[in-house]
Amino acid sequence: MIEVYVRKLLLMAEGKTNLEVDIKLPEKSFCTLYGQSGAGKTTILKIIAGLVQPDEGYIAVNGQVWLDTRKKINLPPQKREIGFVFQDYALFPNMTVRENLQYALNKKSDNQLLNNLLERASLEHLAHRKPPTLSGGQQQRVALLRALVRQPQILLLDEPLSALDLEMRQTLQTEIYQLHQSFQTTTLLVSHQLSEIYRLSDFIISLEKGKIIAQGTPAEVFGLDRLSSKIKLIGEVLRIQENGVVFILDILIGNNIIKTVATPDEIKNLAPGDQVQVFAKAFNPMVKKI
């Protein structure tokens, strides 16, 4: 069980926000912090890691207290058993892939273990390359492995897939899922990608302006609003074309372009680039006398 309570005054671009959260993560769970940028997600991860100090806080991991501002307990990051995957991966450019992992292992060099790990992550052919020569996906994989080799009590992932393209992201989602299954490390992911959250997490904490606004399983948190039987999508208008008495709209939704018909009334105040909601009021039940 991981208990986290933190309070900290944050200075954001849009002013001061009071970050105050109380989180409990069951052991071996996969939990996601979800929210818009500026909600304080990354700050929470850094406070758990000991890289940022809260104004007030209490962190206990599996019975061991890492931080208690009242009792003046504050373990440095080095003493907290954490694996942290940074948004920019933070691989050391001066070290090869193997050396990066060796640095994490902190021992002289357990070559057997290193070889096993590299093989398991299918990275052995890249072991002697320096990180800047690797692709984004490969760097991500090395960063993940480097965070896990010390067998941390908690794995912290700060938007690890945000810089990758869709295909790579899906491959790595599967990989993160499998790694979590085999290592069984309690994991806290920061993300604002719904597909990622759905595929990976057992539990979601939704943050807004430093406060928890909802928590529960993905279905519970997003169920009410987003899983409606009606179709409701957010898209961007690409083109408005006149066609007789109606207009044809090209709307970008995700990676698809949808064509739809609109009346002159509907396209009033609408210009290419606008965000729109596309919804269908279909599926009405039919009623018939028997």
Partner: protein, 223 residues
């Protein structure tokens, strides 16, 4: 014709010792400057950069006053450590350290600031101390800045004149460095010797700078 090699040797010794000591002093200073949010930071930066704009004679004049046995500091140094900093080689080293400080601190500070915070943080989360992080992660990833700081400090110390003249004077084997020797030879109308010293300095300075640019170009490629 006989030329006295001692000033050249003395100059290299002075520059070498100064550079090594400057690295040891400049690195903690640069680390502090990149991390601190203290209100005192601009003041510290201004003081460190003073030697760039101040005439060396001004610096030399005040150091001469401070180090002289008549002043409190001079008396203290003399009584406690038996250090006589006026008209002596140790005095030149102290003066040169102050004089070349910005040439070490500024490149190091820029190099440290250019490294992503996450590198340092990642090293901490992997269980490594601040010292290990500095030696194994930060410094190896800022080699061009390190090289620039070392070479600029070394070259700048070789080229100093006004400050050395003020606090060191012109004592053969003790404080007569090449730049002073050139001045001395010209004053005694011994132009041939002045030529030799000057051309050696010119070539040395050009060679050092060329080396820096060549090495930095190669370092830039490997990353």
């Amino acid at each position: 014709m006989g030329i006295d090699w001692q000033p050249l040797w003395l100059t290299l010794q002075l520059a070498g010792i100064t550079t090594i000591l400057l690295l040891l002093i400049g690195l903690p200073l640069a680390l502090w400057l990149t991390r601190t949010t203290s209100y005192f930071k601009p003041v510290a930066e201004a003081i460190i950069s003073l030697p760039i704009v101040l005439p060396p004679s001004v610096l030399g004049f005040y150091l001469l006053l401070a180090f002289s046995p008549g002043s409190a500091l001079g008396r203290f140094l003399n009584n406690v450590w038996g250090l006589q900093l006026v008209f002596s080689f140790p005095g030149l080293v102290v003066g040169s350290i102050i004089y070349s400080l910005p040439f070490m601190v500024q490149p190091l500070q820029a190099g440290l600031a250019a490294l992503p915070h996450s590198l340092r943080e990642a090293s901490y989360t992997l269980g490594h101390s601040k010292m290990q992080t500095l030696l194994r992660v930060l410094l190896p990833n800022m080699k061009p800045a390190l090289l620039t700081g070392l070479v600029l400090s070394f070259a700048h110390t070789i080229g100093e004149f006004g400050l050395v003249l003020m606090i060191g004077g012109n004592i053969p084997g003790e404080t007569r460095v090449v730049s002073i020797a050139i001045y001395h030879e010209v004053e005694s109308l011994n132009f041939a010797a002045a030529h030799i010293y000057s051309s050696i300095l010119l070539l040395l300075a050009f060679g050092i700078l060329l080396l820096v640019y060549l090495v930095n170009k190669r370092l830039a490629k490997t990353f």
